[in-house]
Amino acid sequence: MSTVFDFRGAPGTGWSQPEPISTPSDTIPERLRRRHLPHWPRASEPELVRHYTGLSQKTFGIDTGFYPLGSCTMKHNPRVNERIALMPGIDRIHPLQEDSQVQGLLSIFYEMQEMLAICSGMDAVTLQPVAGAQGEFTAIRCIQEYHRSNGESHRDKVIVPDSAHGTNPASASMCGYQVVEIPSASDGRLDIEALKAAVGPDTAAMMITNPSTLGLFETNIVEASRIVHEAGGQMYYDGANFNAIIGKTDPGRMGFDAVHYNLHKTFSQPHGGGGPGSGPIGVKGHLSQFLPTPVASRRESVEGDSTGVEDGYWYFWADVGERSIGKVQQWNGNAGAVVRAWAFYRRYGRELERMSEYAVLNSNYLRNRIMNPNPDVAAKIHCMPAEGAQADLVMHEFTLSMSPVKELNGVTGKDVAKRLLDYGYMSPTLYFPQIVPECLMIEPTETESKEVLDKFAADFHAILSEDPEIVTSAPHTTPVKRVDEVWAARKLILRHPITDSED
């Protein structure tokens, strides 16, 4: 297989640059000078355009097809957002420029802080954390400083349900907390008795997402908040599943003290093969003095202010103060993602709840289609999956267990996932949450049509009807066949060897 290192043009003949503005007098001491240049490819633009176009064609994105990856909210990414993010007023801005030079950017930051506070029922928001996991870390750091400021440093435990995203326990642990994992109830929901048994004078916080990773709304969330608060702990809302509830309820009403948002899930910042993300957090008033610094703020314009965005306000970076945890990213967060998310939110405005409505509709519709095949289709299916959780209704996502299928004919969740690739779909999230055996977690999002959902259900049924041999040896039509992950971990070939270079 060819790689970029196969391009071996003549030295210095690739992409051209202007000459240095003056011949540098040789001020770099000999010993500091680089002896051998890195073995980078020597390629021209036409060669590289073809190389990367070829690689893109071997990559599956939302643009390629249906991407029902549960928990990841793979919705369409409107293209105007990319156009805006390349404007010089964001792309060519330095984060340390004076407020007077970035009034437009500050006003967008301020508007986003306000919007996120409104949607979540929080009092203050920072846009500095650059990923969901960093948002979790930031919020738990704020909670940690809050307890310390109250003389309660002895609170050293964070409670997470066993259905939580892996980042929750990892973030709590990075802050220095012990993690107490509590089992879910038999219906997949939060087990209130287990929570009661877990809380105590050492509880710092509980981290939970609602709806849960099973796609179920935690109906006893208010009681959970009461139990944790009575023990002196704080409630943290993992906003990964925020796409399910906007405008219908909010974490503030549920009793949460802090929340993170995933601008790359709910607000359509593209996932880009794994990032960038953006993970702002919102907090209730009592935690706001601990937020990272600075946050965007504004005051009414006064005479003498230079021209701003002409809305009657002067915008500025406000220092959070001496109790702030400081910085979690050295600049002001992923501003480019904030601007994209701003452009996305502006499409919906006060109608943001439509987004959640159609996301939940699509999820329930697809679940219904999959679990209720027509009799003639059902007759051909060897074995149906089980529901990951028993419920009349789910929220934005749902889980299926392939256990019955595996027991009958050895077809695992992974096999079905791989076979779906042959049908032109991205696989659902596999084997998560871990409490559902052979789990497939499916989140269609609001940007898929009924036809796509109908077709997916039909193809899913077709797979369940196929010769198990075909399914267990899938995929068959992808650029490579099933990849040996054990081989990769054993050989650890983590870079090109570049052994046959001419220099």
Binding site: L37, P38, Q97, V309, Q329
Partner: protein, 456 residues
């Protein structure tokens, strides 16, 4: 009216299939006591045209770096990004893919990241690179916590890490946030009068878990003495070096002088300064740190027919498998920006990298020469050799000088008083490949005029 929802107006049919008659019924599981009944107090939905108009108006108010002579860097680069880079990286398949958990349909992104790892490895002189951290500050912070995991058991100072006092406060703050939960004691390494690291004092780090220094340092100074730091601290302490990635086109990479982990801002390759993000952090290390390092790694593999293939590997370090025992909580990273970086690096090639570094260095020297010939301006480290940035002391307040230069249409640098109070009469002046003779004249005129005016 909103768009982006294909099923808008078709809900009755779909609800009917579920035996429901209203959208509200879908949310029946949300208890009454937490329901939101009133609409969100937000503006009316906008069309693409209206959004674009507002974006142009608001972002158009910002003063961007290419619109005037600009000399602000402070760890980021006012770089030139080849047109191919954003055009190819935003192809929909790259842009809208998720983390490549299904390697069979992600070979393109996986291979691009494996090639990225190789180019970073070559650049810094270490065998292993991950596929990016959030930025240089979190790379440095997680390098430190990683080094402690690897080194603390055998270290005579098991919880100690030593950091150059010239690491600026905003970066230190990130490091402190990441280090505090792990119980790491951060000690400071002092510098000599001439701005170089005090190597004798650095010997006190012997037996600690790690030393973190930057080359060039935050004042742009290239410190030859750092090449003796390994000897000064002994073999058992991890040496972590933060770099200006472009400088490695002309400067010996830290992997060649004893560094175990190299971190830095990847941004100069691939993307504009973007108001501070999304950018990406470089993270490269030696084999000793591989199994306890943060972030995703791509490995070469084979498929069931023996063909070459690529896949994420060593995932058992990561949060989705290891949960609270993971080496990091990082999940979303900056892959797309790293992809842009890979494209930019591949376009440059070895000689192009060297030329780019030479251009930046040449701009630095030319600017330094012109600025220090303005009467009243003194170089903070007069004996130093600089890359991209240098600090000057001026007769008066840096803040006021910058305001005056701003009104003359020049972005004259960064007020170092923001980082260190005792340097409030110092400017950090940043240069790049785009700096022109005309820019330099504008800077020296504006600075000279302010000094002349201020002293009158």
């Amino acid at each position: 009216m909103v768009d982006q929802i294909p099923n808008l107006g078709r809900e009755s049919e779909m609800l009917g299939a579920l035996g429901l008659s209203s959208m509200d019924e879908l949310f029946a599981n949300i208890p009454e006591e937490v329901r939101r009944d009133e609409p969100l107090p937000l503006p009316q939905p906008q069309s693409e045209e209206q959004i674009l108009e507002d974006a142009r108006r608001l972002l158009g108010v910002n003063v961007h770096l290419d619109s005037r002579p600009s000399f602000i860097s402070a760890g980021l680069a006012r770089n030139f990004v080849p047109t191919m880079v954003p055009m190819l990286a935003t192809r929909g398949e790259f842009l809208t893919s998720y983390t490549p958990y299904q390697p069979e349909v992600s070979q393109g992104m996986l291979q691009a990241m494996w090639e990225f790892q190789t180019m970073v490895s070559e650049l810094v002189g270490l065998p292993i690179s991950n596929v990016s951290m959030y930025d240089a500050s979190t790379s440095a912070a997680e390098a430190i916590t990683c080094a402690v995991r690897v080194k603390s058991k055998k270290a005579s100072q098991p919880s100690s890490v030593y950091i150059s006092e010239l690491v600026p406060p905003h970066r230190m703050s990130v490091i402190e946030n990441y280090a505090q939960g792990v119980g790491i004691d951060l000690h400071t390494l002092p510098h000599n009068e001439d701005g170089t690291l005090d190597l004798e004092a650095a010997a006190s780090a012997t037996g600690s878990c790690a030393v973190y220094v930057e080359q060039p340092n935050a004042l742009g100074l290239l410190d030859e003495g750092l090449m003796d730091l390994r000897e000064a601290i002994g073999g058992s302490t991890a040496l972590i070096v933060g770099v200006d990635a472009v400088s490695l086109g002309i400067i010996e990479p830290p992997g060649s002088w004893g560094a175990d982990i190299v971190v830095g801002e990847g941004q100069p390759f691939g993307i504009g300064p973007t108001a501070g993000g999304p950018i990406y952090g470089l993270f490269a290390c030696s084999k000793e740190f591989l199994r306890l390092m943060p972030g995703r790694i791509v490995g070469q593999s084979i498929d069931s027919e023996g063909q070459t293939a690529y896949t994420l590997t060593l995932s058992t370090r990561e949060q989705h498998i290891r949960r609270h025992r993971a080496t990091s909580n990082i999940c979303s990273n900056e892959t797309l920006i790293a992809l842009m970086g890979a494209m930019h690096m591949a376009l440059l090639g070895p000689e192009g990298l060297e030329k780019l570094a030479t251009r930046v260095h040449s701009s630095t020297i030319a600017t330094l020469g012109a600025v220090t010939s303005v009467p009243g301006v003194e170089l903070v480290n007069p004996e130093g050799c600089f890359f991209r940035e240098f600090a000057v002391r001026i007769p008066g307040s840096a803040k006021e000088a910058l305001e005056s230069m701003d009104s003359a249409g020049v972005l004259g640098g960064f007020d170092l008083g923001n980082w260190w109070e005792e340097m409030s009469d110092c400017l950090l002046i940043g240069c790049d490949e785009g700096t022109t003779e005309a820019d330099i004249s504008a800077l020296t005129d504006a600075l000279g005029n302010w000094i002349g005016g201020a002293s009158r």
